[in-house]
Point group: C2
Chain length 165, copies 2
DNA sequence: ATAAACTTTCATTTTTTTTTGAAAATACAA
DNA sequence: TTGTATTTTCAAAAAAAAATGAAAGTTTAT
């Protein structure tokens, strides 16, 4: 297999995996493209490489920057903006975990708290509250696991975990 | 807030959360409905409660069974099928993690292995291989974390992790 | 100020995903 | 077997999500 073939395959793989995780296919492809590029790419280069429109390229690059895994880079003497992906994959992983937690786990936690406010005390209600409590429990356990993944140093974490198993 | 109101809110919340995780909204709503129901529900009851078609109800219940978080239940003397959700949320969590790993992480691992088969040895190629290796590394670390979540008993896990932090 | 280079927005179009519902298949009873 | 209850399938319709591209906005140079 040739390098460019492999790179293209990687971009496709990344793209289709993303869809199963509720992430826009193109956004993942832009990310993959930047990951396999030696040099920072301009919007025009992204458009050309992935055959997408300017609007699409712009939106997705911007969103990748929102996620904190792509950075803008300016070249001296040039007006155009260039983009680079964070190549430290462990870092990318942590960043994504952190963001998703903020965007999804936190809203869930407050929803569950709201749902606890039911004012009757029938057996059904107690059953329902038990369910909500169990959900809260699992949520906070997931939180601990994620904290572990995020806050700790990569090697330290792995050593400890491997010892545990 | 009344109980039924809370239940409905829960079903909606669960549904909209699911979409950010690449899970069909209706499937999540059926799951939530079964979670908050005291009794097993028939397809007709699900259709009525969520205002969805028979085909849709059937497909999603079937998929929930594929995920291993909903079970069929037969009532004696009745031909109709009834469905119950596993109410042990920690179990549900583990089951979903297990399934997603099988469906998504394993294919990723083999994709990455394929991508390692590039036959030139330029500096660019080496760079690319480094990226693939880093991805493999993070993947297997995620695997260890997930194993930890799945294989261990709930309380044991939490004790250990809390001690670590 | 004017213009050129570039980025962002967003109404419209296209694509993808989900839902419907009627027909086909299946299971059971008489 | 024949009929009835129930589940499953799947082509077509509807809904949702994503992409386009031209116009508007911004920034910098002259």
């Amino acid at each position: 297999m040739k390098l460019n073939e492999a790179k293209e395959k990687f971009i496709q793989t990344w793209g289709s995996l993303a869809t199963s995780w509720g992430i826009n296919r193109t956004m993942a492809m832009v990310h993959a493209l930047l990951l396999v590029s030696e040099n920072p790419l301009s919007t025009d280069e992204i458009m050309e490489a992935l055959v997408i429109s300017r609007g699409n390229a712009n939106m997705n690059v911007r969103e990748l920057m929102d996620w904190g895994i792509v950075k803008k880079e300016l070249k001296m003497g040039e007006r155009k903006e260039y983009f680079v992906a964070d190549k430290d994959i462990w870092n990318v992983f942590k960043q994504i975990v952190k963001e998703r937690r903020k965007r999804e786990l936190e809203p869930l936690v407050s929803s569950l708290e709201e749902l606890r406010q039911i004012d009757d005390k029938t057996a059904d209600s107690k059953e329902f509250l038990k369910l909500i409590d169990n959900l809260s429990g699992v949520t906070s356990k997931a939180n601990v696991l994620l904290d572990l993944a995020i806050k700790s140093d990569e090697n330290w974490l792995m050593n400890k975990l491997l010892k545990l198993l």
